[in-house]
Amino acid sequence: MNARITLATARRVLNQLRRDPRTVALLFVVPAVLLSLLRWMLANQRANFDHIGAPVLAIFPFVAMFVVTSVATLRERTTGTLERLLTMPIHKLDLLLGYAIAFGAVAVVQVGISASLALGPLGLRVAGAGWLLFVVGVLDALLGMALGLFLSAFARTEFQAVQFMPAVVFPQLLLCGLLTPRHSMDAALRTISDLLPLTYAIDAMQRVTRATGVGHGIVIDLVVVAATTVAALLLGAATLRRRSG
């Protein structure tokens, strides 16, 4: 592993994003617009907005990061630059951490914009601290990024990569406890829900909504989210093969 190569990779990925201002605008603006739309829909139901505002705040960056990173890494595979890099003295983790740093920086800005908007002009009321909302949001975005990096290995075309979104993200959205409380789920569904990382990401946001301070439960949630992120990055590294058939 080499810090110089990792940072050069992060800078390179950010440069690529900079050349695609429309994607950057979509990444930053769309979550903010959707949150505003939600606030408008619930104009007469403040309590409901307060209830789901924070979890929804986590979902948008999670989904956006998942799609953007899976397409970006797939592109690296299909254009031959990945094969070229792997003939060079770069460690696989240098490459993945470079991506993680670059998209992590994007997530910080994205969640920063959404969280400021939600807590400020949109008047979202949560029991927990604003900074905690932000930290959980960024960790959830990083989870989406790491899953996207890993799963892109199983897509051969960009069409397939984009289809992983409904295939991998939607079941997690359905079962994470936002649409139906987890305690009212069928036992089998609840077990599946327990195994899905987004469940913990959303649970952390629900805890920020309900309680002040950093409780025991939220720490466990965040450890699970962070551990899954690291595991997905390591599995992603394992899918990068220097030799192929």
Partner: protein, 236 residues
Amino acid sequence: MTAAVRVDGLRVRRGGAEILHGIHATISTGSITGLLGPSGSGKTTLLRCLVGVQIIAAGSVDVLGLPAGDPALRTRVGYVTQSPAVYTDLTVIENLRYFAAVVGAHEGDVDRVLDAVGLHDSGSHVVGRLSGGQQTRVSLATALLGTPELLVLDEPTVGLDPVLRRDLWQLFAQLARDGVSLIVSSHVMDEAQHCERLLLLREGSVLADGTPTELCRRAGTDDLDDMFLRLIEAAA
């Protein structure tokens, strides 16, 4: 002369079919070897074996005294794929700076390789907006970063105008004089005249191996295209 590359009994299988059927070849240090053959003859697969990205079924490939793909070779071998493997959404300079950081070349090296491929005026251009030939040269410049001792070039001159092609062959000759070993593939037989040695590949086997003069004499013709045809007929 010592061999930069030694290939022994190399077999490659892909999708159940054998692509390379027991290749034997050597490439001498500080020379240009032309790997010629029609498209589909296995040139790219053979080159992929040299850089160590191809899974091989049998045989051995030694590069600069080490097994192909050895981590120690990653700064010593430069590889240019057939389609330019560079970031089309970055500028030429941004591409080269990134790859320079990866191979551990110093900043000034970027200027050197830009000059070498004649792209100095296009440094700030986004690669995706350059012509195909210019993109090929960006990819070539990337392979020249650092101090590669072996350059593996897959059809680097395809689609380039004649002046540019001549310039590149002059660059390759200069590199060879500096001690770099080059293996350059092409499906255009005319390119053979620039090579010190030729390796003719057909349907996954070596059809002939020697200097252009030797091979022409063996085939009894001065014309390179004709030489290939006659060698095929002689082998049949």
